[in-house]
């Protein structure tokens, strides 16, 4: 959408910008909470241990960190009974065959029980609050109201078929509910769990380079610099300098990817000239191992000025922090102080998890602000949602090219395209998990996942929960394969991270 708008020099109306901010905003909040509780918590929280918790102690723990109302001993006892009934039935469903009882699990049973209770509460909460996106986007997942030039959801306080005062009240109520859960459950849980795993502030660093396109535009110009979460680059963990982003410096390698370039495996290409000619050279399935000296991935290897870059909430919070974003600085400093660690702790597995929490909180705080902007426009009688000047391809130039950026929940997402004679001549996406999950490039530089696993201690190679912790901390968008190789280059074990 933004890439086409950039190519055709379209300026979207103010209401479209605000509605997009609201949709992206609630997406961050909901997605990050799901990641924490449902996709990542069980790497740190032992469900089975929760069975032996004293519910009264869980209650005192919960009450000591938050005034969330569901925190009585009776409540946790009920949760524990439900869990017990579930386990006794012998059908463990999604919790079967995990690493329960592994020595790397360090929470006391009471904290485990609290986290499991909130796992279930968060399941109910997320489906409720994401209805903000359903209202503005028609459905979730897969919002369907985005148009080149604006949005399709009409705005009109005098119509029952458009966003009106009732819709504002609906969104406002859910936004309040979203923020309350983040403040009173997610953040206290995150800090409580993190306090038992502080050594993870020393593992899982990755590349130390961070790329952020920025998000939540505050004016309507295409690819504007005026962003609530700023654009920028941090190199070599140096928070004293934020470098500008120049899209021309982004290229992709296929040295270790199952693609071919006209200029060979040593070359790299900017996405405008990107080529996606696939040629699989791996083993014939079924196979046990891939040869990582050759080609081993369907991901290309994106690089910025030749460097591998990490993208995502940690990158966004670091760039905001280093750019002087006041609210981000306040919350990051609060988290660091509570855990008793310095900024260097941010460059780690734990830092990635904490940054996601910080971003959730500050974004949830912004939902009412954007909603007020929308109400103010409605009050003024500004009902425009779409610029249709270029809707008809006849209005397009014969040739055009453009790029558009979005900070998806998982990180920097860029689309580059060329238009020729009213049609797309080339379209290339460089997505967050390609940056983070990138294979090695022509110089042999590993991507962030690979780099982050270096030096991770693994107590039991047959049950490598430690590996899951670091890879899951990136919030990979896919089930992915990780091969652990010991110092002699011999493969120790192969696990699939799902």
């Amino acid at each position: 959408m933004r890439a086409v708008e950039n190519a055709l020099e379209i300026t979207i109306p103010d209401n479209a910008r605000i509605i997009r901010n609201l949709i992206t905003g609630i997406q961050y909040v909901q997605d990050h909470v799901i990641h924490f509780y449902h996709l990542h918590a069980l790497d740190w929280v032992d469900i089975v241990s929760a069975l032996s918790a004293d519910p009264a102690k869980s209650a005192s723990l919960a009450q000591s960190i938050s005034d969330w109302p569901k925190s009585s001993a009776a409540y946790f006892k009920g949760m524990q009974e439900r869990l017990k009934g579930f386990v006794e039935r012998g059908q463990l469903g999604p919790f079967s065959n995990a690493y329960w009882g592994h020595p790397a699990y360090r929470l006391p049973p009471e904290a485990n029980l609290m986290a499991v209770a909130h796992y279930l509460e968060a399941l109910d909460w997320q489906r409720d609050v994401i209805r903000i996106q359903a209202l503005l986007g028609a459905k979730n997942p897969h919002a369907q109201t985005y148009l080149v030039g604006g949005m399709s959801i009409p705005v009109d306080p005098n119509s029952q078929n458009a966003l009106n005062a009732g819709s504002i009240a609906f969104i406002s109520g859910l936004a309040k509910k979203a923020l309350e859960f983040v403040e009173k459950v997610y953040i206290p849980d995150l800090l409580a769990v993190a306090s038992f795993y502080k050594d993870w502030a020393a593992y899982g660093e990755g590349t130390g380079n961070f790329l952020v396109y920025g998000e939540f535009p505050e004016d309507n110009a295409s690819n504007t610099d005026n962003l609530w979460l700023p654009r920028g680059i941090i190199l070599d963990r140096d928070l004293s300098r934020v470098h500008p982003v120049d899209h021309v410096k982004i290229t992709e390698y296929v040295t270790h990817s199952w693609y071919e370039y006209p200029d060979g495996d040593g070359s790299s290409r900017h996405p405008w000239d990107g080529v996606t000619d696939y040629r699989y050279t791996g083993p014939k399935p079924p196979y046990e191992f891939l040869d990582t000296d050759g080609k081993y991935s369907w991901l290309k290897a994106p690089r910025y000025d030749g460097r591998p870059m990490e993208v995502g909430p940690l990158a966004r919070m670091l760039v905001a922090y280093a750019s002087g974003h006041k609210r981000v600085q306040e919350v990051v400093n609060h988290v660091l102080k509570t855990l008793g660690v310095g900024t260097e702790a941010l460059f780690s597995t734990l830092g990635r998890i904490a940054a996601r929490g910080v971003e959730t909180l500050v974004t949830a705080e912004m939902l009412p602000v954007w909603l007020d902007e929308l109400s103010a426009n409605m009050k003024r009688g500004d009902l425009r949602i779409h610029d249709g000047g270029k809707w008809d391809p006849a209005a397009w130039p014969k040739e055009a090219r453009g790029y558009g950026w979005q900070e998806a929940p998982r990180g920097a997402l860029g689309h580059w395209l060329q238009i020729r004679n009213g049609r797309i001549a080339n379209y290339q996406c460089v997505v967050p998990s390609t940056w983070n999950g990138s294979p090695r490039d022509a110089k042999g530089q590993p991507g962030p996942y690979e780099a982050a696993l270096k030096g991770t201690p693994v107590a039991d190679p047959e049950q490598p929960v430690e590996i899951l912790r670091t890879v899951h901390s990136f919030d990979p968008c896919m089930a992915c394969a990780v091969h652990v190789v010991d110092a002699d280059g011999r493969e120790m074990t192969r696990i699939r991270i799902v």
Partner: protein, 367 residues
């Protein structure tokens, strides 16, 4: 809440017992059963039969596979409200394998899958999300070194029933769109001869997923399907025929531009490319996210995502269709589903007159 005292529960507890144990009252349970009866378009007397069947059924084992997919249907599953996703994960289903949600990884995850496929042969439900690439020996989607085409064959041929969720699993979806570089096919094509229920949509509506499972558990058979494998209770009628904006179509009132007065007043989106007249799904009645909205309500035409090959057949999305047939619900998926060509022509003359009479005077004016 008529909570029961704690007790030892043998494996194989029934769905209702499980719900009761966690505090769901008989009344709530029966309400759920009536809701399900309504969802699968049965007279209300059937709700007691559903209740009986769920009372007797074990928590069914479910294996959920993902191949060429975006996890959109998994996200949809997480939005389930009746029953809620939390109840479903703990009490209603036994979801033994699901890459996104399960706690286990690696060999332990493989073990979970094999435990069901070998240990519960013929007794589990397979749900498949995503298309299956079959070109070049299936190298374009491998999990744990095994080709998706091989995994789907093993899992689905041993299943009691297979449910394909979302447009990629049902009809190939985006991966199968021209030029289909990986040879992506639907589950039904990947496992010919195996009974498959198709629940298309992008994403599939979770209410239809739940209703299909309950139908199967209740009656021990698949719900009646149309010619392209979709349950009639969810795909028996055209969107156009149940559309909340249908009166505006009949009156010749059309939104012409995004945000014009007609668009703001909820007029018909046909001129903006709506594919509702060609698409068979219960979106207008069930909606998404607990009835919050659906595309037409949010001012965007239907894009036909529940139809086979929609990516190739329903584009360009914003070009209006040839006039659709008639006023009524006389056409079924079987007669219309063959494609746009099948619906051109004479049947629309009547409607054309309606529009002439309206004289275009009711067109929305631009804001």
């Amino acid at each position: 809440m008529d909570k029961e005292p704690e007790r030892e529960v043998p494996a194989g507890e029934t769905v209702y017992e499980a719900l009761k144990k966690r505090g769901v009252s008989r009344r709530d349970f029966l309400r759920f059963c009536s809701m399900m009866a309504a969802a699968i378009a049965l007279p209300s007397v059937f709700s007691s039969r559903i209740a009986e069947a769920l009372d007797a059924a074990k928590k069914p084992y479910v294996v959920w596979l993902e191949f060429q997919d975006c996890a959109g249907d998994t996200e949809a599953l997480l939005r389930a409200s009746k029953p809620t996703v939390a109840d479903m994960l703990l009490d209603v289903l036994s979801l033994e394998y699901h890459e996104t949600i399960m706690a286990a990884a690696g060999r332990q995850a493989e073990k979970s899958l094999q435990d069901v496929v070998r240990g519960q042969k013929g007794e589990y439900i397979a749900v498949v999300e995503g298309s299956v690439p079959v070109k070049d020996g299936g190298v374009y989607c491998c999990i744990g070194g095994r080709a998706a085409s091989e995994i789907v064959r093993e899992v689905c041929t041993g299943a009691m029933v297979t449910i394909a969720v979302g447009t990629c699993a049902t009809y190939g979806g985006i991966p199968a769109a021209e030029p289909n570089p990986t040879g992506a096919v639907s589950v039904q094509k990947a496992v010919p001869g195996t009974p498959v229920v198709n629940l298309p949509g992008c994403p599939a509506n979770v209410e239809n997923i739940t209703a299909t499972i309950v139908h199967f558990l209740t009656f021990g058979s698949l719900p009646p399907l149309d010619a392209v494998g979709r349950p009639l209770f969810a795909h028996g009628k055209r969107i156009h025929d149940n559309c909340e904006r249908r009166a505006h179509f009949d009156a010749g009132q059309f939104a012409r531009r995004w945000g014009d007065e007609g668009h703001r007043q909820g007029w018909c989106l046909y001129e903006l490319g709506c594919k509702g007249p060609e698409t068979f799904q219960n979106c207008p009645t069930v909606k998404y996210n607990e009835g919050t909205s659906w595309p037409v309500q949010a001012g965007h035409g239907c894009i036909g995502c529940a139809e086979p090959a929609f990516w190739d057949r329903m584009t360009p999305f914003y070009k209006r269709l040839p006039p659709p047939p008639g006023f009524g619900v006389e056409s079924t998926a079987d007669s219309v589903g063959a494609g746009l060509a099948a619906v051109t022509g004479a049947a629309l003359a009547a409607h054309g007159i309606g529009r002439l009479l309206s004289g275009g005077k009711k067109e929305g004016k631009e804001s």
